[in-house]
Amino acid sequence: MSAPAPREAFVRFADVQKSYDGETLVVKNLDLEIDRGEFLTMLGPSGSGKTTCLMMLAGFETATYGDIFLDGRSINNVAPHRRDIGMVFQNYALFPHMTVHENLAFPLEVRKLGKAEVEERVARALDMVELTGFGSRRPAQLSGGQQQRVAVARALVFEPKLVLMDEPLGALDKQLREQMQFEIRHIHERLGVTVVYVTHDQGEALTMSDRIAVFNDGVIQQISTPEGLYERPENVFVAQFIGENNRLLGTVAERNGDLCSVTVEGGLVQALAVSCGGRGEATILSLRPERVTVAPEAGSCPNVFDAVVEELIYLGDHVRSRLRLLGDEEFIVKVPNSGMHRPMHVGETVQVGWSAEDCRALDSPPSFPAAN
């Protein structure tokens, strides 16, 4: 390579393409770099290509085109069992005919480690996931959460450089899932191992990851930190997929440096020009519900509009209100339950406002449905 690379990425997908049938691409021109010790999540709806990427990295699928590098070495022609990559599967894939101890010892035995070392490492792995004393049980005798921990311990016991997790928490109930999210996160911090995590649950992705790659239609839509993704979505898909989002359809009236004004039905909105086109181009405005202020002080926001309250849902810490505003009947505003607000009533007209920076003017891809 001629370009001076200051530091070679630990995992690198270089222009990877994957097709299962020779007609459609499941993964299109993927370029992705993952640093050593990073917790990277591949997030996306089902069929977006994220699991395929993971399987290519694990070696269970071969890339149709392109190279995958691990630690500077192309692994395209390396068999899965020689890649030294730990993997946690969706349904754990614990071997039912082996005890927990035998499951954990399996990767060590196939590596022909000495008996004493196997024992020691298995004990350490059990300790790590707080399952000491469960070694003689069979997977079927464990609860879902315990099985999950065994699966994690098994993927880590042989000290792989890289651990892949394919929706590992999908089978758990909500409470256990949240607990396991923290446990996995802590194990990652403690061991410093590189983790590539696949999920379709955005909450899980935001909680756990250093960086998130949002997949859709075989393409990474945006790759950023959780905060970056939520605060600064770069296209409509990301804005829509991560968190809740109000959408206003409009046309760019004027661009003014970073800002622009957009004509929407019934008004002119000041917005941050992120990826919208020039004057006259269609755009979609994206606005987070919690960034909208009800009854703003005069002059505090450039965007102030009248809205009719359609529906109110009391949620304890905040009131979720659905408003009719600028031709949109599904405009959601989260009003914090801080006592500073006068209670709203269904049918009344209120003023709402927001800053230009919180309203992001994004491109309007033709494939994206105009409304749903």
Partner: protein
């Protein structure tokens, strides 16, 4: 109402909970019983009763005692070990029995029965039956010995006394190549008459070979069917099942056409020059024919349980094993194969049990070296009419199957068996 013990749970009206619970269950139990009753009755009449009858026949021996009832009664005080012939009253009773038996035509059957134990008894009884009515007065003993000197033979009398009991072990002894000696002790059958143990051995050995072949042939195809995409695996499944839907006789006859000396395979081998015209292989009407045809016929019984078990093994097991560092072979042997144990066990025991009782195919293609115990049972049922021996052989076969079943339960656990 029964007195309610303190601490006992009761329903709102004071009935003990157990009573109330039993009452609630009774209705659904009756319903369940009603649903299984027709099948149970069917099995009882067509399965359990015949098996019971077979077991009874294998020891039943009332014929001698019934037809020669006077003789048997008179023989009660006679000591077979005394070395002397029975006295005059016994012979008098014997003549009376023969006269009566001649009218009922029953003495001939006794002769046939005793002939199983000692050669010549049938002819002795026929001969005596014709002439006994001429004896009208004493001395009976001399007269009988005059009809046939075998009546003066101690062995004949020992046999009659021994077989006068209502139950006998002689069928079972015969079924395992043993016999009673004239003195009443148990000895090996003569060399040239020892056939059943060898036949049992051959039946078990051939069944084992057939089971092994079915497993070796069935395992890969089941694996393929379980791992290929549904469309392809369905096609394979049809190919496995197609022979299953064809008549057994048609399939067996096809094997005859294929394997006989002037058959397709031999012709092909001769034509390609692999074997000479004079060295045509004999692959049918012998052991080879039985093995080939039965393996073919029993293969689906191996494939179906294997497939149904393999279908439930998620592909992620193998992937997990690979990702943990096992090469494909190790992953297969240490992770995949142990998980198919239930299918291997179920398929093997099914094929083995069907094989050891198989009749029609060995009868058609077995010749002499490929016939199994079931063919001899049929022979005794239909040709020699020695139903007692047929029943004893059948009971031993049944015992072997049950023993296998118990062994399987001990080794694998019957709960783990999955047939489909």
């Amino acid at each position: 109402m029964a007195a309610i013990a303190p601490g006992q749970l009761t329903t709102a009206d004071g009935t003990p909970l157990k009573v109330s619970f039993a009452r609630a269950l009774r209705r659904s139990r009756l319903k369940a019983l009603g649903l299984v009753l027709p099948l149970f009755a069917f099995l009882l009449i067509t399965f359990l009763v015949p098996i019971g009858d077979m077991l009874f026949r294998s020891v039943e021996n009332q014929l001698v005692g019934r037809v020669l009832h006077r003789t048997v009664a008179a023989l009660a005080d006679w000591d077979p070990a005394s070395g002397e012939l029975p006295g005059e009253p016994v012979f008098e009773a014997l003549v009376a029995d023969f006269v009566e038996g001649r009218e009922n035509r029953t003495t001939g059957r006794v002769g046939v029965r005793l002939n199983y134990e000692l050669g010549g008894m049938s002819s002795l009884f026929r001969k005596t039956g014709r002439r006994a009515k001429r004896i009208r007065e004493a001395p009976y003993r001399a007269a009988m010995i005059a009809i046939d000197e075998r009546w003066g033979n101690l062995d004949v009398w020992r046999l009659v006394k021994r077989e006068s009991d209502a139950y006998t072990a002689s069928y079972y002894l015969a079924a395992v190549d043993l016999r009673f000696t004239a003195e009443g002790s148990i000895a090996r059958q003569e060399e040239e008459r020892q056939i059943y143990l060898r036949l049992f051995g051959r039946t078990l050995w051939l069944s084992l070979i057939i089971t092994t072949l079915c497993l070796l042939l069935g395992y890969p195809i089941s694996y393929l069917m379980a791992t290929l995409p549904v469309r392809t695996s369905n096609l394979l499944m049809i190919m496995v099942l197609l022979p299953f839907w064809t008549s057994l006789l048609v399939r067996t006859t096809c094997w005859i056409a294929l394997l006989q000396q002037q058959g397709v395979i031999n012709d092909l081998l001769v034509w390609t020059g692999l074997i000479g015209e004079d060295n045509r292989l004999s692959m049918i009407h012998n052991r080879t024919g039985t093995i080939i045809a039965m393996t073919h016929i029993l293969l689906p019984f191996m494939v179906l349980p294997l497939y149904s078990v393999m279908k439930t093994i998620p592909p992620s097991y193998m992937r997990a094993a690979r990702s943990l560092g096992a090469n494909p072979f190790t992953a297969f042997v240490r992770v995949y194969m142990p998980n198919t144990a239930a299918g291997v066990g179920a398929g093997s025991i099914l094929v083995f049990i069907i094989a050891i009782g198989y009749y029609i195919t060995p009868a058609l293609v077995g010749g002499t070296s490929g016939t199994l115990i079931s063919n001899f049972i049929a022979h005794h049922m239909q040709v020699s009419l020695n139903w007692g021996l047929a029943a004893a052989l059948g009971a031993l076969l049944l015992a072997a199957v049950l023993a296998l079943y118990v062994l399987y339960d001990k080794l694998v656990g019957i709960d783990n068996m999955r047939l489909g």
